[in-house]
């Protein structure tokens, strides 16, 4: 076929080219004229509901959240779907449980089926912005990048970071490159590094660059370790600026690292809870505890003081958006990917346990123009967020999600009629059945723990049952007293496990 195009036609076509390139953005701009709201999801990493005063913690860690909660729907028993970033965040982003999305190992990716089935594909008419301080979350953004309009590199919101070049040189192995760079170079953290000479040189250059901020952070700058440090203020200011300056509607997913360790709060909050008389409940050592952690109370204090910093910055973000009138048209969500624990010989979240502090996370939903507080005490799950946000934004709830509409958007709602799962299978290959895992199932007032395949258990299974309504500290194991309930929940769990293992030969 011969196509005749003269010079005039060519110039006309060339003139149309920029318009063609702009078409997707123009489409989103037209959508902005419609009634679509901005949706902003703010995830603070490792933020345990257990340590939040809004949820009854004895230390007043969240005065700003308490102030803002008067205009929000506050979920008091909201559960993450795992106890660490990879599995927990993948569930948030895909609305599916870890055994479905298969991001089980640290820094692993979700299965191919979810590359086009995630929160970014749902918000297809929004301008989608994503940022994370946590490199494991960026691994997902990398997978979903076709559906993200603006993926901001982690380094853009960190201070001097000597690993930037490496990040560019090794794009397929960013996380381990960063970890390795830290071990090679960052001598100031441990006092030693693999490198004998260059570590001194590069570390002193980094220190020089960040010196002006160090006075504000006597315990050191907040950091994801690979970077030279960051300020939450910078990230918040940047996020607000992007929300304000984007024509909209905007879907923003901001995954900020604090209060994840290292717990380095700002000077203003330093020592705020020192010698305040707080006494944690004495709990028995967990079977997965490495040893009795004598520093747990100090670490808890540091963590709580870091939460004060998070709380202040979230309050500031909210106020900035309100002052610019964005709140009239914006849904804001505050949540986390997993919790943190300072008891039973565990400090942090690197453990196979799934006690409440490790999986109970905050969830606050602020709707545009909200003036009343609604408290939801029913148990809810992190996988419920995706369908709920889709519902609030006028999108169809995706068929593939495993969550359900959160109350009060679903009425009636009863957590007695559903199973809320949390799963940790840290060493599981994505293509193999789970042979070593920690799973909890929450149903109504009961929570069943099921652990199997661990060397600590010497080949046996471990089952515990708690009435988390009457015993939220999980002190009284009822598995021997309430045998019928235990057996019923365990059967249900094992049936589910068989079902999810089946496609992988289990």
């Amino acid at each position: 076929m011969k196509i005749d195009i003269n010079r005039r036609d060519f110039l006309k076509l060339a003139g149309m080219l920029p318009l063609g390139l702009l078409a997707p953005k123009l489409h989103k701009s037209f959508v902005s004229q419609s009634d679509k709201k901005n949706v902003i999801v703010v995830v603070f990493d490792a933020f345990s509901a257990y340590n939040i005063s809004l949820y009854g913690y004895a230390r007043e860690t969240t005065p700003n959240m308490a102030r803002l909660a008067e205009r929000a729907t506050v979920y008091h028993n909201h559960y993450a779907n795992s106890n660490y970033t990879t599995s927990g965040t993948a569930s948030l982003l895909t609305g599916t449980l870890p055994w479905t999305h298969r991001a089980l190992m640290p820094n692993s990716t979700v299965s191919d089926a979810y590359v086009d089935r995630n929160i970014f594909t749902v918000f297809k008419d929004h301008y989608r912005i994503a940022y994370s301080h946590n490199e494991w979350v960026n691994t997902f953004f990398d997978q979903f990048k076709e559906h993200i309009d603006e993926w901001i590199p982690r380094e853009q919101l960190t201070l001097f970071s000597s690993d930037r070049l490496l990040q560019k040189a090794f794009p397929n192995d960013r996380d381990i490159t960063s970890v390795s760079w830290v071990r090679n170079i960052k001598i100031q953290q441990e006092g030693y590094a693999y490198s004998l000479f260059l570590s001194r040189l590069i570390s002193s250059l980094e220190e020089k660059y960040t010196a002006e901020y160090r006075l504000q952070f006597p315990r050191g700058l907040p950091t994801a370790r690979a970077d030279g440090g960051f300020l939450l203020e910078h990230a918040v200011d940047w996020a607000v600026d992007r929300i304000n300056s984007t024509p909209g509607p905007v879907f923003g997913y901001f995954h900020f690292l604090p209060p994840h360790d290292p717990y380095r709060t700002q000077r203003e909050f330093l020592g705020h809870f020192r010698n305040d008389g707080y006494q944690s409940i004495d709990k028995p050592l967990d079977v997965f505890a490495k040893d009795q952690n004598d520093d747990a109370s100090v670490l808890r204090q540091y963590y709580d003081e870091f939460i004060l910093y998070v709380d202040r910055e979230f309050g500031r973000m909210f106020d900035l958006l309100e002052n610019t009138g964005q709140l009239d048209n914006t849904v804001i969500v505050l949540t986390s990917d997993h919790g943190e624990m300072f008891e039973r010989g565990v400090a942090g979240h690197v453990t196979d346990s799934l006690y409440e502090p490790l999986i109970r996370i905050p969830l606050l939903i602020f709707e545009p123009g909200g003036t009343n507080r609604r408290d939801i005490y029913e148990s809810t799950s992190a996988v419920d967020l995706l369908p709920t946000l889709a519902h609030l934004s006028g999108y169809q709830e995706p068929q593939w999600n495993e969550g359900t509409l959160l109350p009060p958007y679903q009425q009636p709602y009863s957590s007695s009629n559903r199973n809320i799962y949390a799963v940790r299978s840290y060493n599981a290959e994505s293509t193999e059945p789970l042979s070593q895992a920690s799973i909890t199932i929450v149903k109504g007032r009961y929570k069943l723990h099921y652990y199997f395949g661990y060397s600590e258990l010497e080949g046996k299974d471990l089952v515990k049952l708690f009435d988390v309504e009457a015993d939220p500290e999980e002190m009284n194991d009822l598995s021997q007293l309430e045998k019928d309930i235990t057996s019923e929940m365990l059967d249900e769990l094992k049936t589910k496990l068989q079902e999810v293992n089946k496609p992988y030969g289990g």
Binding site: P106, V179, S180, I187, G191, Y194, S195, L196, V350
Partner: protein
């Protein structure tokens, strides 16, 4: 360059420079393996070691260039063997001094109380710290040079030692090659 180093002595000097840097990396990286594997997985832990080895290789090249140029300060008349022996020994001593503060943190050493007290009580603590440091470092540099310069036997022993260390370091370079393959696999 020929009047300062033979090809063989250049290679030996490079291997001597690479030896402490690789040894230190291997010691610390294997110390980290279980920690990294626990937080991620064994393949990632191998990745961390591999990046460490490649970094050690590049640091070895920089260190070698530094040693190479410094060696040109040794008088030409002393000969290539003496130059190689002196630069090799100084290289190892410098690496030991670089390890020392890291070991201090690694093994949680403490400066003895009596030393801190006497420094604090002295009229010029900073000046005294420098004096103590120089009292250790200057002899650690000067004495080996003198010994190599004066004693043919010591020179021969050192050159023998260099040969043996070179063999060991060749093994480390083989590890570097494996590390490079690991990195390529991880990044493809």
């Amino acid at each position: 360059m020929n009047k300062y180093y033979s090809k063989q002595s250049l290679w030996s000097l490079f291997l001597i420079c690479a030896f402490p840097l690789h040894l230190w990396t291997l010691l610390l990286a294997f110390r980290d393996i279980s920690w990294v594997a626990e937080r991620t997985n064994f393949w990632d832990a191998i990745g961390v070691v591999s990046y460490g080895m490649i970094f050690a290789f590049f640091e070895s090249i920089i260190f070698f260039l530094f040693a190479l140029l410094s060696g040109m300060l040794v008088p030409v008349g002393w000969g290539k063997d003496k130059r190689l022996a002196i630069m090799s020994v100084l290289t190892l001593i410098l690496a030991l001094w670089a390890m020392f503060p890291q070991l201090y943190a690694l093994l949680s050493w403490n400066i003895p109380d009596w030393l801190i007290r006497s420094l604090v009580e002295s009229a010029h603590p900073l000046r005294n710290i420098y004096a103590i440091a120089l009292a250790f470092t200057i002899p650690s540099v000067v004495l080996p040079i003198l010994m190599i310069y004066r004693s043919e036997k010591i020179l021969r022993n050192i050159l023998d030692g260099i040969d043996r260390l070179s063999l060991l370091t060749s093994l480390y370079l083989f590890f570097d090659l494996i590390a490079l393959i690991v990195l390529i696999i991880r990044n493809v």
